[in-house]
């Protein structure tokens, strides 16, 4: 009903190509999250969907209808801005009602819509306040309330939580997830935050320099990144990458050499790979262990920097060839900086990327 479809959508500012031909299908009621490094075009893509920017080429369909030339209102979208974008001189009530007044709805209907949204967002006691009399989280809720009352087909969020403190972010994140469940409308959400992306999304869209790198459910992106960019972008701390060569290719994986001796047999489909090819071994910090006995393979190194997080600690370990590898180990650290260490590497959790085009070999699951 309100699925959003992008067909080869491109956007150019003057001579600068910012969005370079994006194809995307977001199903009705789906929660899609755009992530990517700063300046990759997330906001621009969202603004193209909103109708705040003109699409240079390609088609945008909402609910099966081409809407390139439609105004934001005709597209049936609502947008929540990072800066809240509340009208500073209007009360909470007026802010939420302002977009409705011209629609043919009567005064009572507007009142009902505003009070209903205020109820959902627990804004009822604040309806007569001005934005400057609210806290950041309350302002954000008003901005969301203003979007809700319009009863949109598609909800757009541009980094709505980035101005809030950590505790409030968690709370608002849960509220947004709840809202999505209750309203069941299509939502598109831009964020920098890994956790927001992983927890909220039905589908994550990883953008890089105006291109879509990969689209998929959060865990698929986590477990089966298509290339080095996605592998490095999803997950925190970032995946470790070790340059190496294939020693042998077999049906149950690729055998690669490790710095400082030893070999790992990564459980990937080595189609088209042959011994001697340059590859990159990827392994996530949380998959490394300090139990070297019984581990499939061992990485030897020296602890360079130790960071304590409380629930876990990060061992930044220097390998024999100078590569820095990070391990995330639960609990309190039993190591000091400068200690020699052996890190266990589980074969079935290794990723292998071709060095030439940085594309991953499919993992055997």
């Amino acid at each position: 009903m309100a699925e959003v479809v992008l067909r080869n959508v491109a956007k150019q500012f003057g001579n600068v190509k910012v969005i370079k031909g994006v194809d995307l299908n977001i199903a009705d009621g789906e929660f899609a999250v755009f992530v990517g490094p700063s300046g990759c075009g997330k906001s621009t893509l969202l603004r193209l969907i909103a109708g705040l920017e003109d699409i240079t080429s390609g088609d945008l369909l909402i609910g099966g209808e081409r809407v390139n030339a439609k105004t934001p209102k005709e597209r049936g979208i609502s947008m929540v801005f990072q800066s809240y974008a509340l009208y500073p001189h209007m009360t909470v009530y007026e802010n939420m009602a302002f977009g409705l007044t011209l629609a043919k709805s009567g005064r009572q209907e507007i009142d009902k819509a505003v009070r209903g949204a205020a109820e959902i967002l627990e804004l009822t006691p604040l309806l007569d306040r001005l934005p400057k009399q609210l806290s950041g989280g309350q302002r954000q809720r008003v901005a969301i309330g203003r979007a809700i009352v319009r009863n949109p087909r598609v909800f757009l969020f541009d980094e709505p939580l980035s101005n809030l403190d950590a505790a409030l972010r968690v709370q608002m994140r849960i509220e947004i997830a709840k809202l999505h469940k209750e309203m069941g409308v299509t939502m598109i959400y831009v964020t920098h935050d890994q956790v927001e992306a992983m927890t909220l999304a039905d589908k994550i869209v990883v953008l890089n320099a105006g291109n879509v790198e990969q689209v998929g459910p959060p865990l698929e992106l986590y477990h089966h990144p298509r290339n080095i960019f996605v592998a490095g972008f999803i997950g925190s701390p970032k995946m470790n990458f070790i340059k190496t060569k294939i020693d042998a290719a077999g049906p149950d994986g690729l055998k690669v050499g490790l710095p400082g001796g030893g070999e790992a047999v990564a459980r990937v489909k080595g189609d088209g790979a042959s011994a001697g090819d340059s590859v990159i071994l990827g392994v996530r910090p949380e998959h490394l262990t300090t139990q070297s006995e019984g581990a499939d393979t061992v990485l030897k190194g020296k602890v360079d920097v130790l960071e304590q997080l409380g629930e876990a600690y990060l061992l930044h370990t220097r390998l024999a060839d100078g590569t820095l590898v990070t391990a995330k180990i639960p609990g309190d650290a039993a190591y000091n900086e400068g200690d020699d260490i052996s890190l266990g590497v589980p074969n079935e959790l290794c990723h292998i990327f071709r060095a030439s085009d940085e594309i991953a070999f499919g993992r055997i699951m």
Binding site: T71, E74, M79, F81, S83, Y87, F98, G99
Partner: protein, 311 residues
């Protein structure tokens, strides 16, 4: 505690001292060029001073303002010419400032949109304001001239009028001619002040309004206007006070014509043409008091408004 308090007050004292050092030269200059003439004028207002015989001055109390003499009232407060000047001044102020605000707003809104060459246009639009009044008034005087003026030439050429009109001399058109020239001259100033107000508006509100599909006219009245109100009020006060003491433009364009005579022109006429320094000073003093009262009023109203904003 007490040590901290002592050093704080020492710091305050040092600050106050340097503030006085910087302020003193300015205050001396102001006292000489503004304070002294003002006091002299107020003093003369209570005398029968005459320009030809300033030494022979007598104190006559309030007689310049109001005096009962042989069954009749005399003085400034019962002079129909004075009240005509007061009325002219107020009419001129209200109409010209209103027009300047409307046109200034239109110009500012236009200049606030992004287009090529905006910088040049912004500079160009200031030209009428940058020209000294005496020059632009003379220039308009010629353009409005009944025999040689280009305005009559154009209007007759396109057939709107059949006879040349003496714009600045005819009682029907004189005030409007003066208002037109003032609007031409001062609209850029108004536009600049409003533009400054527009430029600090939050842009995201406008995007939100766009997403909500709100009509631009409604956005202007419901969002833009309330948000630039502080800047607009300041601009209105500025222009209003300026217009109340208008002299040069009117004097150059219409001289001592009764139709356009303002309080300042009236005072000058009494003081210089009729050599009645005492009576002219009384008129100047009245003008000063009217403006002073208006300043105090606007400042009080302004404070109340600021207090509301600060809550």
């Amino acid at each position: 505690m007490s040590v901290a308090a002592a050093s704080a007050s020492e710091l305050t004292r040092a600050r106050v001292r340097s503030a006085w050092i910087f302020l003193t030269p300015m205050m001396i200059v102001l006292a000489l060029v503004a304070g002294w003439p003002l006091i002299r004028t107020i003093y003369f207002a209570f005398t029968d001073a005459n320009l030809s015989a300033l030494d022979n001055t007598r104190f006559i109390g309030l007689a310049n303002f109001l005096e009962y003499y042989e069954g009749e009232w005399y003085g400034l407060l019962v002079d129909p010419d004075w009240w005509n000047a007061v009325w002219n001044t107020i009419w001129f102020t209200v109409v010209s400032v209103a027009l300047e605000t409307v046109f200034g707003m239109i110009v500012a809104l236009t200049l606030n949109t992004a287009f090529k060459g905006r910088g040049y246009l912004r500079a160009a639009i200031l030209i009428p304001w940058a020209i000294p009044t005496i020059v632009s008034a003379k220039m308009w005087g010629w353009m409005l001239h009944d025999q040689f003026g280009i305005l009559n030439e154009i209007l007759m050429g396109i057939g709107i009028i059949s006879q040349p009109i003496a714009w600045t001399a005819s009682p029907d058109t004189a005030m409007w001619a003066v208002i037109m020239v003032d609007v031409w001259k001062t609209t850029p100033f108004m536009a600049l002040l409003i533009l400054a107000g527009l430029q600090i508006l939050p842009t995201d509100c406008y995007e939100a309004a766009k997403v909500d599909g709100i009509h631009p006219v409604r956005v202007f009245f419901k969002v833009t206007l309330p948000l630039i109100r502080p800047a607009l009020v300041v601009a209105l006060i500025f222009r209003g006070l300026d217009a109340l003491r208008i002299f040069d433009l009117i004097y150059v364009l219409t001289s001592n014509s009764r139709e356009t005579m303002t309080m300042s022109v009236y005072a000058r006429q009494q003081l210089v043409d009729f050599q009645e320094v005492g009576y002219g000073s009384a008129a100047s003093t009245m003008l000063f008091m009217i403006i002073a009262v208006l300043v105090v009023l606007t400042l009080t109203v302004g404070k109340v408004r600021l207090g509301e904003d600060a809550k």
